[in-house]
């Protein structure tokens, strides 16, 4: 450890960057030992890259995680790409994706293949009929939690924020219920709130809407 590093701020990493091989094995470990995804996996990534190996500062990780929120698709794959690129350019992206997804995809396929062998058993069909309503219940709670962030953003825009959110939620629900392609529900939501946020951005943020 050099003195310049000791004296530097929190933002300086304390160990050198991982090699491509280290990147691969780190993501391999994360991909093979994380279950269910979401915040548990996020924590695991943070542990490996920030807490254990000090390859990244907490600030750098937080910034990468914030960027990932703007990317399409699965956030955990996007963070894999971003951190892989940070340490190894495009080769870093490739080895990170291979580590994170290789075994996980293989195990997912193997589990599905095994399941396909037994899916016609009456017991398995019974289990599936029990699991399906449970999945619906779990998803209701999951979606409720997802709504927290937009709700916070909407509340900051006064009383008309939640009203606008409710209208868009109803529009998306109605469109899909009527059989309109899902794309239009997503476009309505994105365009609707995008425009709403743009036209209400001049409102003072602290002052709640009282009209």
């Amino acid at each position: 450890m050099t003195t310049s590093m000791v004296s530097s701020s929190l933002d300086a990493p304390t160990t050198p960057c991982p090699s491509l091989f280290e990147l691969f094995t780190t993501w391999l470990r994360i991909g093979a030992t994380s279950f269910g995804g979401g915040s548990a996996t996020q924590l695991l990534i943070q542990q490996r890259f920030v807490t254990c190996r000090h390859w990244m500062t907490p600030g750098a990780f937080a910034q990468d995680w914030a960027i990932v929120q703007f990317a399409p698709g699965i956030n955990l794959i996007a963070i894999t790409v971003l951190i892989g690129h940070r340490f190894g350019g495009m080769p870093g992206v490739v080895v990170s994706l291979l580590g994170m997804l290789g075994p996980a995809v293989a195990i997912t396929i193997a589990m599905t293949a095994l399941y396909s062998q037994v899916r016609d058993w009456p017991q398995v069909q019974g289990a599936l009929r029990g699991i399906t309503p449970a999945l619906v219940g779990l998803s209701i709670a999951f979606m409720w939690r997802l709504l927290k962030e937009p709700l916070a953003g909407l509340k900051r825009r006064g009383r008309r924020g939640p009203v606008a959110g409710l209208i868009l939620l109803a529009v998306a629900t109605a469109l899909t219920a009527l059989g309109v392609p899902v794309l239009f529900a997503y476009l309505a939501g994105a365009a609707g709130l995008g425009i709403f946020y743009a036209v209400t951005s001049h409102l003072p943020k602290e002052e709640p809407w009282t009209g």
Partner: protein, 169 residues
């Protein structure tokens, strides 16, 4: 099977959504409309996604296998891997994106749309599975347990599976 259309449906579902569950309403409506999947495939795939390692969004890979075998699983894997690569472009314009007030609105609006469309699709999945006192009770109990958060997801699913074997065969 029209492989190009199959792949493009998966790619669209991943590209024009966010998060592991984002593609769900797209895939459910598109694949069932074409007769390439049945309702129960989604319950099967989502369950595998919950108990297999890696991001739970890998349920899409399981759906690929269930609907089109190994080639389907590999195409699905490719389709969920490509869109997140765009994060490299996002990272360059991130500061400009963030300063636009419309950006937060677009992201929040996508979540609202996913919840709205997702609610319809989940209702369809529930109905296709069979509505009776037992399935309603399992659904209600799972909702309560999920909100409570003390019982892990796998245990809720295992309990529901056991209830299904005993009561719904």
């Amino acid at each position: 099977m029209d492989w190009l259309t199959y792949f493009l449906l998966f790619l669209k579902a991943s590209l024009l959504s966010t998060g592991g569950r984002g593609p769900f309403p797209y895939l459910y409506t598109d694949l069932i409309a074409r007769g390439w999947a049945v309702e129960s495939n989604f319950a099967e795939a989502l369950t595998v996604g919950e108990i297999s390692p890696g991001p739970s969004g890998l349920w899409v890979v399981s759906l690929g296998y269930l609907t089109a075998g190994l080639p389907g699983a590999l195409l699905a894997s490719l389709a969920i891997t490509l869109p997140p690569l765009l994060v490299l472009i996002v990272a360059r314009v991130h500061s400009r994106l963030k300063s636009l007030s419309a950006t937060a609105g677009v992201l929040d609006g996508l979540v609202l749309a996913m919840v709205g469309s997702g609610a319809v699709v989940l209702a369809n999945l529930f109905i296709a599975n069979g509505v009776n006192a037992i399935t309603v009770a399992i659904g209600a109990l799972a909702t309560v347990l999920a909100f409570d958060g003390r019982v892990p997801t796998w245990a809720v699913l295992a309990g529901a599976a056991l209830a299904g074997v005993l009561l719904l065969q």
